[in-house]
């Protein structure tokens, strides 16, 4: 089979984010591009958060997956521009997050999170109520905030817009 950039992207879509195992690294926007340099496959990736401990594992998984599928040499390049943003998650991806029990991110707006005021109302992923309160801007991972639903009395996480 002739390998194209599309085939490679297909393989990469089988790699799930280790911390949110319902989303793959392509829909997360971690994979930025795939191209060939002669026989070598080059994959550019961008970190979600600077200190995200999953990045190392994701890098290993990419190399392993591509080798398994017959790629010879694989090179990974980390890029910082454009900066990763939750705005890259599309509606289907956001729906998956909600079904997994994580409230999906709102769209970022200029200046929104530089404001010191509390963020807007977040809906509960279980009962969709807006009667929720922020417990902490930080949760089990840097990308999520901790909320509590006052309607169904469940704690839940919100994928912070960034």
């Amino acid at each position: 089979m002739v390998m194209t950039e599309q085939t490679i992207l297909g393989y990469l879509s089988e790699i799930l984010d280790p911390e949110i195992p319902v989303l793959n690294i392509v829909e997360m926007g971690i994979v930025r591009s795939v191209f060939f340099e002669n026989e070598k496959v080059v994959v550019t990736i961008t970190p979600t958060y600077s200190g995200c401990p999953a990045m190392r594992m994701i890098e290993d998984n990419i190399v392993e997956k591509l080798k398994e599928n017959g790629c010879g040499e694989v090179e990974l390049k980390t890029v910082y521009t454009p900066t990763w943003t939750t705005d890259w998650l599309n509606e289907i991806t956001k729906k998956k997050l909600q079904q997994y029990g994580i409230s999906p991110p709102h769209t970022t707006s200029d200046n929104h999170f530089v404001e010191i005021t509390l963020p807007k109302k977040i809906s509960c992923p279980y009962c969709q109520s807006h009667q929720t309160s922020l417990k902490s801007d930080f949760s089990s991972t840097a990308c999520k905030a901790m909320y509590y639903c006052n309607a169904c009395l469940q704690p839940f996480e919100y994928f912070k817009e960034i």
Partner: protein, 256 residues
């Protein structure tokens, strides 16, 4: 990347300054792991610590490329001595009580937000990219510490007093963040970094606003500590480094 030798040296020093600030503060914050006053804070402080370590890693990696002596970010983090570290003294002070930690986080995060807002427009693409990313993360750090400033300042008499004590103790260490010297001047002349005079003025304005809202009195500005930026540190840095570096130095090339 083609840079004049002089600019390259200045850039290397500057990158060490901003990377070491984050590496050392991140390490200090990690000391709260398992010791936070409430579980949410334990998690918040360690998450912030992780962001800072990640930013330090990215800046150190870039510093190593700029230096061009085939050192890696790990070599720079684990195999330099006290005198080679260029962080400001503010970040190396022991973690103190919760009020001390919060006041320091507030001073530092406010500085970083202002600095990264400018650095994301740097004429060097790599520096701009890392800083644009750091800015997003640091904005959440600032929101975290700002809200604690309000809660501690507006809480009980004891919480307000502890916060005031922390602010008084830290104040003379804040000036070093805005130190202007030949490194800063050379780089800002090339639009690689912003002018620190400008950032300092904005910082003072924002801090004064927060103090008003949290009923904290601005300390009298007098003598400002410095020396960290040229490798002259308090006795605390050596202790952090020995803890941070011992494993790698005892077992070089150890892998998990």
């Amino acid at each position: 990347m083609r840079l004049d030798t002089e600019i390259r040296d200045a850039l290397f020093s500057f990158l060490l300054r901003i990377a070491d600030d984050r590496l050392i503060l991140g390490h200090r914050l990690s000391e709260w792991c398992g010791h936070g006053p409430i579980l949410e804070e334990d998690i918040a402080l360690t998450n912030i610590s992780l962001d800072l370590l990640g930013q330090a890693e990215a800046y150190l990696k870039f510093a190593a490329e700029v230096e061009g002596k085939s050192r890696t970010e790990d070599d720079l983090a684990y195999f330099r001595e006290v005198i080679d570290f260029k962080n400001c003294k503010l970040v190396e002070l022991p973690k103190g009580d919760f009020a001390f930690t919060i006041a320091r986080q507030f001073f530092f995060s406010q500085y970083c937000v202002l600095l990264c807002e400018k650095l994301q427009q740097s004429s060097l693409e790599q520096l701009a990219g890392i800083s644009a990313k750091a800015l997003k993360e640091t904005t959440y750090h600032l929101r975290h510490s700002y809200q604690w400033m309000l809660r501690l300042g507006g809480g009980t008499e004891e919480s307000r007093q502890r916060l005031q004590n922390a602010v008084d103790e830290l104040w003379n260490y804040t000036g070093e963040m805005f130190l202007t010297d030949t490194i800063e001047q050379q780089l800002s002349a090339q639009n690689i970094i912003p002018s620190f005079v400008e950032i300092s003025a904005l910082w003072k304005e924002n801090v004064a606003r927060c103090f008003r809202e949290s009923s904290i009195t601005i300390p009298q500005t007098g003598f400002m500590h410095s020396g960290g930026r040229i490798g002259k540190h308090t006795e605390h840095l050596g202790h952090i480094l020995s803890e941070m570096q011992i494993l790698t130095r005892s077992f070089p090339k150890a892998k998990w």
